[in-house]
Symmetry: D3
Subunit: 260 residues, 6 copies
Amino acid sequence: MSAIQSERPAYFSKYPSIRFERDDDGVLVLSFHKDGGPLTFTAQEHEAFVDAFYDVSRDRDNKIVILTGAGGDFMPGIDFNSFGDVSDPDVWSKVHDEGTQILENIANIRVPVIWALEGKAHVHAEYGLLANLIVAGEGATFNDLPHFAGGIIPGDGVFTLWSYFVGPGRAQAMLLDPKPMSAREANALGVVAEVVPDGRALERAREIARTYLTRTEVTRRNTRIHFIQPIKERIVREVGYGLALEGASAAALVKSFRAK
Amino acid sequence: MSAIQSERPAYFSKYPSIRFERDDDGVLVLSFHKDGGPLTFTAQEHEAFVDAFYDVSRDRDNKIVILTGAGGDFMPGIDFNSFGDVSDPDVWSKVHDEGTQILENIANIRVPVIWALEGKAHVHAEYGLLANLIVAGEGATFNDLPHFAGGIIPGDGVFTLWSYFVGPGRAQAMLLDPKPMSAREANALGVVAEVVPDGRALERAREIARTYLTRTEVTRRNTRIHFIQPIKERIVREVGYGLALEGASAAALVKSFRAK
Amino acid sequence: MSAIQSERPAYFSKYPSIRFERDDDGVLVLSFHKDGGPLTFTAQEHEAFVDAFYDVSRDRDNKIVILTGAGGDFMPGIDFNSFGDVSDPDVWSKVHDEGTQILENIANIRVPVIWALEGKAHVHAEYGLLANLIVAGEGATFNDLPHFAGGIIPGDGVFTLWSYFVGPGRAQAMLLDPKPMSAREANALGVVAEVVPDGRALERAREIARTYLTRTEVTRRNTRIHFIQPIKERIVREVGYGLALEGASAAALVKSFRAK
Amino acid sequence: MSAIQSERPAYFSKYPSIRFERDDDGVLVLSFHKDGGPLTFTAQEHEAFVDAFYDVSRDRDNKIVILTGAGGDFMPGIDFNSFGDVSDPDVWSKVHDEGTQILENIANIRVPVIWALEGKAHVHAEYGLLANLIVAGEGATFNDLPHFAGGIIPGDGVFTLWSYFVGPGRAQAMLLDPKPMSAREANALGVVAEVVPDGRALERAREIARTYLTRTEVTRRNTRIHFIQPIKERIVREVGYGLALEGASAAALVKSFRAK
Amino acid sequence: MSAIQSERPAYFSKYPSIRFERDDDGVLVLSFHKDGGPLTFTAQEHEAFVDAFYDVSRDRDNKIVILTGAGGDFMPGIDFNSFGDVSDPDVWSKVHDEGTQILENIANIRVPVIWALEGKAHVHAEYGLLANLIVAGEGATFNDLPHFAGGIIPGDGVFTLWSYFVGPGRAQAMLLDPKPMSAREANALGVVAEVVPDGRALERAREIARTYLTRTEVTRRNTRIHFIQPIKERIVREVGYGLALEGASAAALVKSFRAK
Amino acid sequence: MSAIQSERPAYFSKYPSIRFERDDDGVLVLSFHKDGGPLTFTAQEHEAFVDAFYDVSRDRDNKIVILTGAGGDFMPGIDFNSFGDVSDPDVWSKVHDEGTQILENIANIRVPVIWALEGKAHVHAEYGLLANLIVAGEGATFNDLPHFAGGIIPGDGVFTLWSYFVGPGRAQAMLLDPKPMSAREANALGVVAEVVPDGRALERAREIARTYLTRTEVTRRNTRIHFIQPIKERIVREVGYGLALEGASAAALVKSFRAK
């Protein structure tokens, strides 16, 4: 309907660790990166991504969103120290509020979302699981580094999303003993829709995006709204509480360090 | 308990595209057909099936229900034009009301339901997914022709049911890029309980029905009620909204046609 | 944090069919047994297990719980007659109340629970499915003897739990035609996390428990609380009604016997 | 849109205790009666009303529905004996199924419903509480005769509806100690929208109905659908279980009679 | 904790119809206005308020939010024409998306919200009902002009919120026959916490805000989060569907105009 | 059915601050006290009441439960210091677990519960709101001392219960600015069923209990189960999260004290 505005919206330049590219059809590629290479997740991203996904959701010139990484990885690592003293209730209050809001904001992107996954999705894989379709390079792997492995609970939605996709048995097992799951395994479990050669995920995602573009905008938007509704309800019910429990767990971890 | 009444109830003759057969044990075979061959779904069926499933649900002489097709297919196609101008809000109001009601009425059949599937279930497979057990001929295939392939959203419960059975990853992938899923694939995914040679699904369903008949009527009814409760709650929460979103999508599609 | 009390709590000696063993780290092994051999489930256990699981849940000296059987089986059989006249509404009222309470009490064990399964889990497998991780001997099998096979509905949570773990298609099929499912099948379906040689499940569960002990107590407790929340909500919504429907079904079964 | 068909639909003559009158605008007055006087509710109505409300809901020529009684009362009494031996599980199975279905069918009347209440609503007041607006004669009273007063639980939705309208405190108090509540009290509590002189409720309801007719049919239907959605969800979650609990309670009552 | 930044954030100047004022304690007064006088709500506000409330929610320098109007009224009127052709599915898609998002964004303001109400709240009173406390001038009135009075359904959350606050009986009655409700009536119903002389609501709200400031920031934030959780869940379940139904109703209204 | 055992169960002597009295009909009076006078709530009661209510719930010789206080008050005060360092995550973990469990255990008392209220219910009034009927002396008052007044959030269920009984408007207002509410006000709001002269509440509760005893035990139990189901679902969804948020708030309060 409306032509895509030729100028770049202001938010395209607002977030240091996100690169935005949008073609004339409104297919937005949102790439996480650090200086063009793989992103190490920090507290800065935890704050910034809340608004970034909101900005994406509110811009009706985005017709389809492709989520991806840079430098061959989606999100390979996390810098815990950047979060500061997570046993400080004021610090965790911010984590709690951002953590619930970020998943709601991704869920509220009301156009089809495709996850073009390359390499390691070892941190916040649940962001990608809120896509409607996942295309993965064959070397891609899923894991959950930040939680049980690091001594805190996987309460930020990562359990909610994995349980939704692969059932509670597998979700609990993988989160209690985090090990990389390959793209092929994830494909066999119905999580990944297509496995492509490494380095081809984005290209394939673009192809798929083009097929969606043949539908009307309302069809694309409402399909997303309908598909996301059940998990959006679960996010609202489960993630805030999960993050509050995770905060107490983080405080206990800090206490145990200090006791040593 | 009560002997099955020998005379045929009036509704057995009420619906041109449904053939009813009931044996002395109360096993009702409900076959969709068009002139004895495979049924092409039209607006007439959309209206008629609401009441047909209600009539079946209300007749306590039905002890077990077997759902099947005719001419070697369950439901191979749909005639969109029969629905009229789906961008007319009065037309879609009827579609919305019938569409929510039909799934509730199938869910409210309070005896075990077996789907004896042969051939193509390419339209409204969700009707069959409300069965408690699926027996499929080996050539049977599942697909979803009427929605994303046709330019509108799969909001009538087809996503709700597939997501419930195979998880959201597979459900989204198959509805966004509809391709036939074979009976064997569906069996591997736990959707189809048994694959039988083509043409034998009904016979096998009858055999299974006979094993159920050894339980008391209350056991059969209450088992169904218990099994259906979680998905009935989801239908009530998700399908009305889904159909309303689908209606807007249909209006947008008509608008796009007219703009050409 | 707190040292485990050296003396055994009183409830360790309270239940004839449960053996409790707790090591110095607070890993509690809870073994069902009858005179040291496999347990045949009776009405006495139905009552006793309610309180036993509550006692376990309330004792903060339990840091991790391992659930297992004795004599090479988890729970191979059930003695229906022990329940008395299940068509008597006063009798079933007790069954209903205990049946809902027992699952809530297991769900409220707020430390990680591991199911070390050997042999037959042919009765009340849903107790074990409330664990966070399942380790099974390779000869272990799952089944559901007490319900549809015996003429009553599987309304006590066994459907709710199986449906949660393997989806509604498989859950309905297995409960309507109960047959043993092997540990390897369950592993392939994501239910069993690890298959070990027969007789090694408990040992392996202990090893896993030790890895959990490296996390703080709050992390362990809150992980359990977060993981169990979605199924706890379903238990509260579905199991009471299921048991009420099962009670009517049991009364109908007794009526049918008397009519013969 | 469509002119109201001049001939009376078949269901207008199908139910001995319901009188149907429809004017040219599609305002349907549905009056409960016995031989033209006040209706004493029996098992025959319990079965018939299920289908009657379904027929009303399915007839798109009904534009607005007014529910009322006859002979100056809505429903003053109930004949328990007509239900037969309610301790027989087959008898109660029917009560359970009908009881859940009847409330769902009223909820699914997708046009505005007005309750024109005169006299005693002492049985199944919850039917009327599913209206969107209540006009009551000043001598009208609400009560609940069939349940706690008669020795069984108010599980058929009467608690669900009263709790929804006046809060759980008042609902529990009135159902545990049933006494007539006057129209003026109900008006002060927000239940009754208007109190009119005795004998004028129907006339006033017709006036209100005429104001609704100035809106489009889709507006009228969708307003009803939106207003009813929250309570429809509660009905689906609460009423089946409530009726199952009521059935056990009825069986216990019969047992206590027989023990005397 | 953090001192309130002295400079005004950019969003304070972003929205023509909102005036922001924040004192040194972080009490933000958010006033709707048009050129300093009472606001007539238009499509521009429908879009702008989505982001405005989001900006407010994301700015942790806001410690308490007071919502009010200007020129002696909260929101006295609406300009329907500004929304354009609401029967166009693309137009309504935007209304639907914004309408759901705006209520979620208000709900996600994670600090106490006080509504200082003066004059007419005749449009979008539900925005104010998402406050935690309402102080009203004695001449204030509540009403709902935009929906049933205008021929469309009150599906944007106004029913959900009124039903939550005054029960479904009053909510349905007032929305089906919109008439001003006075501050004193609303106070008697528990909606308005305090009635003050006209023109004093803001001053009183500031006093109350100061009492909240004596609590810690986490206490203030988490109290809001806890209080809003139940209605946030209902908003997510009910409002999207309500707006979709309202869209169909709007299309039908336009159709009826064109038919004249 | 079963005669009440003449000997007193062991739990009658287990809890220093609870006096149990049971008459021959099984009417249990559970009185909170400290040395026979009004109870000041401490951490010891927080732990003990969990098990006390569980013991009550599990003893089928309790036919009706009357909850009351001693010395003319229900619960007039609280000793915060007894809880220790509530900013210690291990301390709060225990508070969280007990706090959620205590409300579930009261909800699971499956016989009618009557609250015979005298004097001050200024701490944990929500325990009493889980009764089915409240009889109050005319000098009785409700309040909430431990939360917002003390600087932490009312997250332990007190909001959930008050909101359920008097709606969210009044609940938020009273919890944000705690002031005593009189028995007569509570009666006018439908919370208190009967106001009696001071000192007569227990006597009146016993009279009411006797009327309940004329119903069968199953009727009494199942009525309670049905009435409590909706709020039990809300407790499970809301209270754990509320307590986790309250814990963070308590930690922030301690931090603010230490900063002074």
